[in-house]
């Protein structure tokens, strides 16, 4: 499965919850599949989906899912120790690991070579790290959200992209409606 197929499959699981979605194609795909005010689309700043979602999870009690990519996690590896050492049960980090920089033309990442993000997350001190194959993600994600323990999911999948338009929503609108959803 490629990322857009995975997002289509887990969209109903994500829908009731606060989701911080990675820059580029992941946000564009989620926007196309199930745009709603509980989605925070990153339009810039590669790598910070994990950190933004984690800050949000620390600041309030609702479940938060950060959707990140292998390339973006590699950009901001330093945040994994921060997340591990300040763990909060309402946080789930979903790393869609297709072994490539999808949004920039599918150049290979080191996560598709010798580097295991699962092992990295564990070595950083994250206690619940689950590596899962694309087709098995749904139930794993659902139980991670339902659980009181923070979970890092590394979802291994194929690389590949679909054609779709950029997000034209104004960033302040994305942020405002998201904050209203947080308060709701």
């Amino acid at each position: 499965m490629i990322r857009s197929e995975i997002l289509k499959e887990i969209a109903p699981i994500l829908n009731p919850h606060l989701v911080v979605c990675n820059i580029g194609l992941p946000s564009q795909e989620l926007h196309m599949i199930d745009d709603n005010e509980r989605n925070f689309y990153m339009l810039g700043t590669m790598g910070l989906s994990s950190s933004i979602g984690f800050g949000l999870a620390l600041a309030q009690d609702k479940p938060v899912i950060s959707i990140d990519g292998d390339g973006s996690v590699l950009t901001n590896l330093g945040t994994l120790p921060t997340i591990a050492n300040n763990a909060t049960g309402n946080y789930t980090l979903l790393i869609i690991d297709n072994g490539s920089y999808g949004s920039t033309g599918d150049q290979p990442t080191y996560a598709g070579m010798k580097t295991s993000l699962t092992a990295v997350a564990k070595a950083c001190g994250c206690e619940n790290v689950i590596e899962v194959q694309d087709k098995d993600l749904g139930p794993v994600l659902q139980s991670a959200i339902d659980s009181d323990e923070m979970t890092i999911i590394v979802c291994k999948c194929d690389s590949g992209n679909i054609k779709l338009p950029v997000i034209t929503l104004d960033p302040v609108v994305i942020r405002h409606r998201f904050m209203e959803a947080v308060k709701a």
């Binding site: 810039g44 700043t45 950190s51 620390l58 309030q60 998201f178």
Partner: protein
């Protein structure tokens, strides 16, 4: 006057309850004070752009954030300031150790100091420079201003403000 206490008192009085820090020798006292306050959740960051991401999330979660860092970090956070904090219009007081100014003992620090104000000006970030101890009296107003306008705001605090480095 205890500057560390005054700064953290002002943060608390302005309802800042989420503070991320990247350490600096000059800021050690204020970081310790942040850590010791029950009203503030203190989360150390490994890099300043990560910290700005945490602050963005905390803000959207209903908390008022702040970041404490060195001026060298302006060099690594420009993209984050422009495409996250400014683009989504979020408030962020940045309490910055202004290394490389008067009374600086380490030459290399000057290399980023000479770019610091120019970079902040290029980003249209409101910038205040604390050089004398009494300058801290403005801090409360700066925090109010930051959360009024939803912008990142820089407070540069140099070695003279902190009382120098002692014998070096």
């Amino acid at each position: 006057m205890n500057i560390d206490k005054k700064i953290v008192d002002d943060l608390v009085a302005n309802d800042v309850s989420f503070v991320t820090t990247v350490p600096c020798k000059q800021l050690a006292g204020v970081i310790e004070e942040v850590e010791n306050r029950d009203e503030i959740f203190h989360i150390p960051s490994n890099k300043e752009d990560e910290g700005m991401g945490l602050c963005a999330g905390a803000f959207m979660g209903g908390k008022r954030p702040a970041i404490i860092m060195q001026n060298t970090a302006i060099g690594v956070t420009i993209n984050t300031l422009a495409t996250l904090t400014q683009f989504y219009r979020m408030p962020l007081p940045m309490i910055i150790s202004y290394r490389g100014e008067l009374r600086e003992p380490v030459a290399c620090q000057v290399e980023m100091a000479v770019h610091t104000k120019a970079l902040l000006a290029q980003l249209n970030i409101p910038t205040y420079h604390f050089h004398w101890q009494k300058d801290v009296e403005e801090f409360d107003n700066i925090l109010k201003y930051t959360f009024m306008c939803n912008k990142p705001v820089a407070i540069l605090t140099d070695a003279n403000f902190w009382g120098g480095y002692g014998d070096q």
